[in-house]
């Protein structure tokens, strides 16, 4: 499958085919019912996050001591919380915090994962050995434990979630991408590129890392879902998003106190988190098929 398409186009060898490939992949995802669901949910998430920056049905800070723990009314579609604030507005504003956390966590995980993968296939036996040992040892430390350790000096903050998830998922990413990276690093075309005088870094960027990209993208999509789940857990435990900052975890934690008053209000924040995480997981699954040249014939035609 090592198609040689670098022969004719000398300038900008990587970008144009990459964009075309991405278009094909997106179209293949849209073509499946599940994929369409995932794309719609993710687009809605993005849209609501952007809208909430300029408009929410009620101000987040308009408290109303006379109407606390209310059921749905015309003014408050999903009811009010313990300070009389509008639940729907807080959920909408929460969307942007969760989006930010997911994006940052995934970005950090991606960078860390790639760096560790690169280190693990390094030509230096010391670097590759030490990084492999590091990944093996740290992989069994739960994300929540990393978050708790970080929270001791840092207190509750978005950064705790992002760093803890970034480290946890980055390690996982490196572990999963390692076999493919090793396979590519030991392949004939890497040997011949090196023999032709290419530097190890350029071989890494051009030949080894691209081979791990399908796995990495799929895994990162799944990690985004886990990051949304982690936010709700960590915020409830008091080491995540600080109080006063809107997030789905915050709404979920608040709704716990609702349970005796208006049980159905508990449904909304949990349902939103579940639907978004389902969408991210489904997206990952469909993406796995869409980026696999064996399962997706349309992709073969581009390459």
């Amino acid at each position: 499958m090592a198609a040689d398409n670098g022969g004719k186009k000398v300038a900008a060898p990587a970008l144009a085919p990459l964009a075309r490939k991405a278009a094909v992949v997106l179209r293949s995802i849209w073509a499946r019912g599940e994929g369409r669901f995932a794309l719609v949910v993710l687009a809605l998430w993005l849209a609501v996050s952007l809208i909430s920056l300029v408009w929410t049905p009620q101000s987040l800070w308009s408290t109303d001591g006379y109407h606390v723990w209310q059921g749905p009314t015309a003014a408050h579609w999903l009811g009010t919380d313990g300070t009389g604030s509008d639940v729907l507005s807080w959920l909408m504003a929460g969307a942007r915090t969760n989006l930010l956390i997911a994006v940052l966590a995934v970005a950090l995980a991606g960078v860390l994962g790639m760096a560790l993968t690169a280190a693990m296939v390094s030509r230096s036996a010391t670097v590759s050995g030490v990084s492999a040992v590091l990944v093996d040892a740290l992989i069994s430390i739960p994300t929540v434990l990393i978050a708790l350790i970080l929270a001791v000096p840092m207190g509750a903050s978005v950064a705790v979630i992002v760093i803890a998830c970034g480290i946890g998922y980055g390690l996982n990413l490196a572990r999963i991408a390692r076999p493919q990276a090793l396979l590519a690093a030991n392949s004939g075309y890497v040997d011949s590129a090196l023999a032709n005088g290419a530097s190890w870094f350029s071989v890494l960027v051009r030949h080894i890392m691209p081979n791990t990209m399908p796995t990495m993208t799929v895994q990162l999509s799944l990690s985004a879902g886990t990051a949304v789940l982690a936010e709700s857990g960590l915020t409830y435990l008091g080491v995540g998003v600080p109080s006063g900052v809107p997030s789905w975890g915050h709404s979920l934690a608040t709704s716990v106190k609702f349970i005796d008053v208006y049980p159905l209000t508990v449904l909304w924040p949990g349902l939103i988190v579940t639907v978004v995480v389902v969408a991210l997981n489904v997206f990952g699954d469909v993406l796995r098929d869409a980026v696999d040249p064996v399962a997706n014939p349309a992709l073969r035609e581009v390459a």
């Binding site: 040892a137 069994s140 349970i259």
Partner: protein, 323 residues
Amino acid sequence: MRRFIIERLALFIGALAGISVVIFAALRILPGDVATVMAGLNSPPDKVARIRAQMGLDRPLVLQYGDWMGGLLRGDFGKSLLTGRSVTSTVAMRASITFPLIVMGLVVALAVGLSLGVAATLATRPAARSCFHFFGIVGGSIPALWGGLLLILLFSRGTGLIGLFPSQGFPQRGWHDTGAALLSLVLPALTVGIIDGASLMRYTRSALADLLSSGYLDQAMACGYTRRQAVLRVGLRLAMPQLVSVVGLMFAGMVTGVMVIENLFALPGIGYGLVTDLGNRDLIAVQSELFMLAAFFLAMGFVVDVLHRLLDPRLKSSLEGGR
């Protein structure tokens, strides 16, 4: 094999030492210092100094670290400065709730994940396959907090639709009141177990599907097994090393859920205690508890790796150790 175990053991000890340094450092880079935080706001300097001396915080960092490690090696985790009780006994009491909860959750997860994974592999009707697919994806996407709330709404005594199980707290007399203790862990264990069971089911199904398209199950069926027997007797056995790794990692992921669930159900376990201690800034207790948990998970990682080797003769006999 022996060499592999020794190497892996060395790695375990090294990682443990590394983690201890990280935890120790995290507590020392606090804004202000531990003593100021513990003494409380606006407390007179001599009180801060007394606490500092009492905690040994006026001594060099290396010595403090040595004291802590030496204590840990003797099983002495220090004294809580808030309650004055030994952290060892507090942690032991809390562990007696958390570990049964984790084990029960794991049993539920294995029962749900393995049986549904096999059923999904063997299902032939498209409707049944869609159902399994739906459960696998949605079940694993539910936040533990919300899953717990839903179960409380459905099954708890008092608020639930069908009042079957208690939803708050642990019996006063602890495990002496065995029946009540077990009952109070049912809903928490179900919450954790079902969510992780759904993920395990997806792994089981995909591992078995890979095996079904490999030659191993064809050969087993050619010897006279039916498809179901081949999946159950050969497929599950061959998927075992892979599933052990997954369960090992799942175990680490489970602890987030367990901590949330302990707080939701007001179970005074390690997760609940850790969050309380963190809130109270009882940092000596936090330091030892974090280390205990890290040690536990590193040990699990070690066990899982060795088990993985033992289950696969192809790996067991490769003497060079693979890496």
